[in-house]
């Protein structure tokens, strides 16, 4: 199979924590512009897969090719610069800073030490921040300290922090977890809007939400792919029903 049609090719990926293989000889491919949803029971290794792609965990074996670059040999910030953005399972924002400052730090300029010292809040920065804030429903909260936001708003803030980086591959770990029904709806719309011009990997448990957004679904179980295909396909797969959807 040629790598060039895929934005991300994961092949033979394995990571072992003291002998326990959280991800075991995993291969999957994500196309340009695709929304891929990864589902699977708790402990299946979903978060670990994202950790491996974004450089937080180093793989034991295998390769992760992103647009021809081998991510498994790069550091976290190099992977970000290459165009991979990642949202954590627990909202991870800068709680002591304002919403505005959270966006400001995420804006992809002035990332070196002296770049940061000389960074100016010019019109380009302000425009990007205001647009992003509006997109993630936080335009009224720019001056607010981030730890005063609700759980759902923090999730949005973190999504906004990724968007302002303009990543070409966006990875979201349980983006609607802990959200109210109304917030889920808004988030689903948001995701459909922001996934237009980029590829996305989403981890999610909420099957209605998955059905709404997924192009293709990968089911993980014990660090391996159990099934892969359209939502319809995996929902009918007897193996999937047995280990995951059945209960």
């Amino acid at each position: 199979m040629s790598n060039k049609d895929f934005v991300l090719s994961v092949e033979g990926l394995t990571v072992s924590f003291d002998g326990f293989k959280a991800v075991d000889d995993l291969s999957f491919y994500v196309e340009e512009g695709e929304i891929r949803v990864i589902i699977g029971p708790n402990g299946a290794g979903k978060t670990t897969v994202l950790d491996l792609i974004c450089g937080r965990t180093k793989s034991t074996e295998g390769s992760i090719k992103f647009r021809g670059k081998d991510l498994s040999k790069m550091t976290e910030h190099e992977i970000v610069h290459a165009g991979v953005g990642r949202k954590f399972q627990n909202p991870s924002v800068y709680e002591d800073l304002t919403v505005f400052e959270n966006f400001e730090l995420s804006f992809p300029r002035g990332r070196s030490v002296f770049g940061a010292l000389g960074f100016q809040r010019d019109a380009e920065v302000l425009k990007a921040i205001e647009e992003t804030a509006e997109m993630v429903f936080l335009q009224e909260h720019l001056g607010m300290q981030a730890d005063l936001l609700s759980h759902g708003q923090k999730q949005w803030l973190e999504i906004g922090m990724l968007l302002i980086q303009q990543p070409s591959l966006l990875m979201l770990d349980e983006p609607v977890a802990g959200m109210s029904v109304a917030e889920r709806k808004k988030t689903a719309e948001l995701l459909l809007k922001i996934t237009k011009d980029r590829s996305v990997i989403v981890i999610e448990h909420d099957m209605n939400f998955v059905a709404d957004i997924a192009d293709r679904v990968t089911v993980l179980h014990q660090g391996k792919v159990l099934s892969e295909g359209s939502m319809d396909h995996v929902q009918k797969d007897p193996k999937v029903i047995e280990v995951y959807l059945g209960h």
């Binding site: 990642r86 991870s92 800068y94 002591d96 400001e104 940061a116």
Partner: protein, 393 residues
């Protein structure tokens, strides 16, 4: 343009704080104390540079160094080496078996100036060395530690070990460093006698001027995006990496910057006190320096100055009266700062004086303007900053 994106170099409250400090140091103290006490205050102030560095590195960046005495000491030694060479002219040292080298070298049977002393014949090179040698040393320590992701308590312990090792090295190579006694009997700077009362007053003002230069430099760093990144690194280091920053470089930078500040303090200390010795390098002085910063308030630059003044004043007073008590007092202060007022004197000031005064001011403005349209009231006097928004958790 909306409020949230506006950034002043100094908020009105901070500007007020700077002005009060300037009046205190430039006018009130020189007019109200004798030359001897003024020189003492100048000596205390040379520690405030270390405390400022710790505000940035520890208070904001979360990197606790228990070895700042190393950089203070190297800065001080670089200055002392120049002054010592000037004091060791051939005429001054004619009675030695090798005239023209520092006396302690002669006592240790050295017959030649060690190579690394040579640059210190030049004032220019010595002043550059005051900043660059400690800076380079801190940079290398930072590089070795932060690139390996050594942080927190481990980093603190390693800096402490460095302080111990450097002290042992200095004490052990008596012939080249003056050993336990340090470098003493410093006399003139380019022929200008630094031991006179008049010189000491001038040096005090030089020191205060540098205090303000460094305060402004630090304020610039804190006001830049780098200042906000430091807070972000302190609280959620990993997230900062995934915002695309090479966090290690930022840590190396701020640690090096703090070291250079300490070194400036060390050089000013040597000039004002007239000697430098390993007793300002080791573990105990390094821990004292952290306490200056903690007592002043680790999130406040001005607090660094007040902390250095207050703790050193207490030390002098107590050591004159009951010398044995000082270490207990130091321990007590440390416990108090950690458990009762974690943001130090400036934290207390913000909570009990600044905030109520602000509230009173706003209430008064509201009262006076109660007939006027509401818009004129919307601009707040100042945001009661660090204490509430950046407080360490």
């Amino acid at each position: 343009m909306s409020n949230y994106s506006k950034q002043k170099f100094l908020s009105p409250a901070e500007l007020g704080g700077f002005i009060v400090l300037a009046i205190l140091l430039f006018v009130v103290l020189p007019l109200s104390v004798d030359d001897f006490r003024l020189n003492l205050i100048g000596k205390y102030l040379s520690y405030s540079f270390v405390a400022m560095g710790l505000v940035l590195c520890w208070g904001y960046g979360g990197i606790l160094s228990l070895g700042q005495g190393v950089f203070f000491g190297i800065g001080g030694y670089c200055m002392a080496m120049f002054l010592k060479l000037e004091a060791s002219s051939v005429e001054n040292t004619a009675i030695q078996s090798t005239p023209g080298i520092p006396d302690f070298m002669d006592w240790n049977q050295l017959t030649e100036l060690p190579w690394f002393w040579e640059p210190f014949n030049s004032l220019g090179l010595s002043l550059i060395a005051v900043i660059l040698v400690p800076g380079l040393f801190a940079f290398l320590i930072g590089l070795a530690m932060f690139k390996r992701r050594v942080g927190g308590v481990y980093f603190a312990i390693i800096t402490q070990a460095v302080a111990a090792i450097l002290t042992i090295l200095i004490v052990g190579s008596q012939g080249m460093t003056g050993g336990i006694n340090g470098i003493t009997d410093l006399r003139t700077l380019l022929g200008w006698d630094i031991r006179t009362d008049e010189a000491k007053v001038i040096l005090y003002f030089v020191c205060v001027t540098f205090v303000f230069i460094c305060l402004f430099l630090c304020q610039f760093v804190l006001r830049s995006k780098l200042g906000r990144l430091l807070v972000a690194v302190r609280d959620t280091e990993e997230r900062v990496r995934f915002s695309g920053y090479n966090v290690d470089n930022f840590k190396i930078f701020i640690f090096t910057f703090a070291a250079m500040l300490s070194a400036i303090g060390g050089a000013l200390f040597t000039l004002q006190v007239g000697f430098m010795s390993p007793s300002f390098v080791g573990i105990v002085p390094s821990i004292e320096m952290v306490i200056f910063c903690a007592v002043g308030g680790r999130l406040s630059l001005l607090g660094a100055v007040y902390g250095a003044l207050a703790v050193n004043f207490a030390k002098t007073t107590l050591s004159e009266a009951i010398p044995e008590l000082w270490l207990f007092a130091l321990g007590g202060m440390f416990i108090a700062v950690v458990s009762i007022f974690p943001n130090g004197l400036m934290g207390l000031y913000n909570t009990y004086i600044s905030a109520p005064v602000n509230r009173f001011y706003h209430a008064a403005v509201r009262f006076i303007n109660k007939d006027k349209p509401v818009e004129t009231l919307s601009e707040p006097l100042s945001e009661p900053e660090s204490e509430s928004t950046l407080g360490a958790k």
